[in-house]
């Protein structure tokens, strides 16, 4: 045991900078930690048994491939992605965004590699502020974007003024494709078979046509929004001296990410009903 504590540790900035261990600051794991673990295990066992006695797990009718329920929903923790699916190209929402999000999540410590704020809850000077700003912007921004894509602003206008929404092209995202008189040739720009050379893999030649308005609505605008808004947020907070250090920016972005994630999940779970329309909904009504 004693040997383990005096062993040389790999030279990293953080380890080198660590002060000598202060024994008087330490407690014995038995009993101080083991008992807490034991009590919380007992508490949670009781809690889970109580929950299991009181609330039954859902079981609907036998699976039937011929009957598609409306709405069909993924498990709740993937409803954020299903919600994204309504607003952009499926490849983007279903695969590319989550992949990049996970990589970015894993990369956090490699970007924010300072020792600032380590080991204590939100201990740096502007930590709480950045958390509130990030989370608030993320939640409200997501909500506004969802309401926009559902044409809520146009519907409100029509209800209040009694006249039709004056800018049809800004009714929602899809209207940019449908209600702007794009030149016919733009909807099918042939790129030929030299762009994606899948024939080199032995597959049949692929003729690629791009639909510029479609590309704009399904990919370019969503991607610019998802990358652009966080960047704008960081720049604004940097100029406003809210976020000054790496840790500040990290708290800002991470809080924003969590808020977006939670907001998308909430909307996807409780506010997507038949045809995935934006209405209050609960799974428990199914039974």
């Amino acid at each position: 045991m004693a040997a383990a504590q005096t062993q040389p540790v790999a030279a990293s900035r953080a380890v080198e900078a660590r002060k000598r261990r202060q024994r008087e600051e330490e407690l014995l794991v038995w009993p101080d930690l083991v008992f807490i673990e034991f009590i919380s295990a007992v508490l949670f066992t009781v809690l889970i048994v109580a929950l299991a006695v009181l609330v039954d797990a859902v079981l609907l009718d036998r699976a039937n491939p011929a009957v598609t329920p409306n709405p069909s929903k993924a498990p709740w923790y993937f409803l954020n992605l299903q919600e994204l699916l309504l607003h952009m190209h499926p490849a983007l929402a279903g695969v590319i965004v989550p992949t990049i999000a996970l990589i970015a999540l894993g990369a956090i410590p490699y970007y924010d590699n300072t020792a600032e704020g380590q080991g204590e809850w939100l201990s740096t000077p502007r930590a709480w502020l950045n958390m509130y700003v990030g989370a608030g912007t993320g939640a409200i921004g997501t909500l506004l974007l969802i309401l926009f894509d559902d044409a809520q602003h146009a519907k409100l206008w029509e209800k209040v003024t009694g006249t039709a929404w004056p800018i049809p092209a800004l009714r929602n995202l899809r209207a940019i494709q449908n209600d702007i008189p794009w030149p016919k040739s733009w909807t099918k720009v042939p790129l030929g078979d030299k762009v994606l050379r899948i024939d080199l893999l032995g597959l049949p030649k692929m003729h690629l046509d791009i639909n510029i308005p479609g590309l704009l609505v399904e990919q370019i605008i969503p991607v610019s929004t998802m990358i652009g808004l966080p960047i704008v947020l960081s720049i604004v907070c940097w100029k406003a001296k809210i976020a000054q250090t790496k840790r500040d920016h990290m708290i800002l972005q991470f809080s924003g990410f969590i808020a977006v994630y939670v907001m998308l999940t909430i909307v996807g779970t409780f506010f997507r009903g038949e045809g995935l329309a934006l209405v209050p909904y609960t799974i428990f009504a199914e039974k």
Binding site: I48, L60, A63, G94, G106, D112, Q118, I258
Partner: protein, 251 residues
């Protein structure tokens, strides 16, 4: 046998303890006596394979519940609970499209404590997704991902993915409408990836639509493949916490 010491003043209680804890049977199992002196307490932790996940001493701020809210420990606790209740459920469940749904119905009506076991497994599964996400947030906001713990954060992200996949593969098994269509929606998302999406979806589902092939694949991943992987990554996760010098604290 590890040397142990006794407290100085021997009270009646100590004598009873001695009778129970210093006999040959007890010693053959635990080596040290009852952990009633600092030395024995450290030996109890250091010589027990399970408790040895811990160091023998720990900084006082890390014992405060508000530092970790026990969230990592709870995730692990739920994982263990899911393993136990899952094994019990396996006794009654056959992953066949002809039987799966009926097995779940029978579990709810015919099997003693069957409904309770299913409910517990379900709630613990949802709970684990929540505790893992909250654990990640606690690690982030306490700045505990910073060097030298970068890699353990990455291991954590892998554990998060494994947790979601464990829950997702389990979702199909009851073979009710909820299960079938949730998995259909979920796997279609995979299918939408450019180029490799459709082949990937095909491999995952074992066909063009969610059927017997998908059920057996999901079942196998759910009961053995993913739990094993999660166990391996958890081992690394816990080992790294120790190697990185225990939980993070201010420099």
């Amino acid at each position: 046998m590890a040397a142990t010491e006794s407290p100085e003043r021997r009270s009646m209680g100590d004598r009873v303890y001695d009778a129970i804890f210093t006999n040959r049977l007890w010693r053959s199992i635990f080596r040290s006596g009852y952990p009633n002196t600092p030395r024995n307490q450290m030996l109890a932790v250091a010589t027990n394979v399970f408790l040895h996940l811990h160091p023998t001493r720990i900084h006082r701020t890390h014992v405060k519940i508000t530092h970790t809210f026990c969230l990592g420990g709870l995730s692990f606790f739920l994982f263990l609970g899911l393993t136990i209740s899952g094994v019990l459920l396996m006794f009654y469940y056959v992953p066949s499209v002809d039987r799966a749904y009926e097995d779940i119905l029978a579990l709810e009506t015919d099997v003693r404590f069957g409904q309770l076991m299913r409910n517990m497994h379900r709630w613990m599964a949802h709970g684990m997704v929540l505790t893992v996400l909250m654990h990640m947030m606690r690690v982030f906001y306490t700045g505990a991902y910073k060097p030298p713990r970068e890699f353990n954060w990455v291991v954590g992200v892998v554990l998060l993915v494994l947790t979601l996949l464990l829950s997702f593969t389990g979702y199909l098994l009851p073979w009710d409408q909820l299960a079938l269509w949730a998995i259909t929606v979920g796997t279609n998302m995979v299918g939408s990836a450019p180029l490799l999406g459709e082949p990937n979806r095909f491999v995952l589902v074992g066909g063009f639509q969610v059927g017997q092939a998908a059920l057996i694949r999901f079942y196998t991943l759910h009961v053995i493949g993913l739990p094993l992987m999660a166990a391996v990554f958890m081992t690394v996760h816990f080992w790294r916490i120790r190697r990185d010098g225990g939980l993070a604290r201010p420099l």
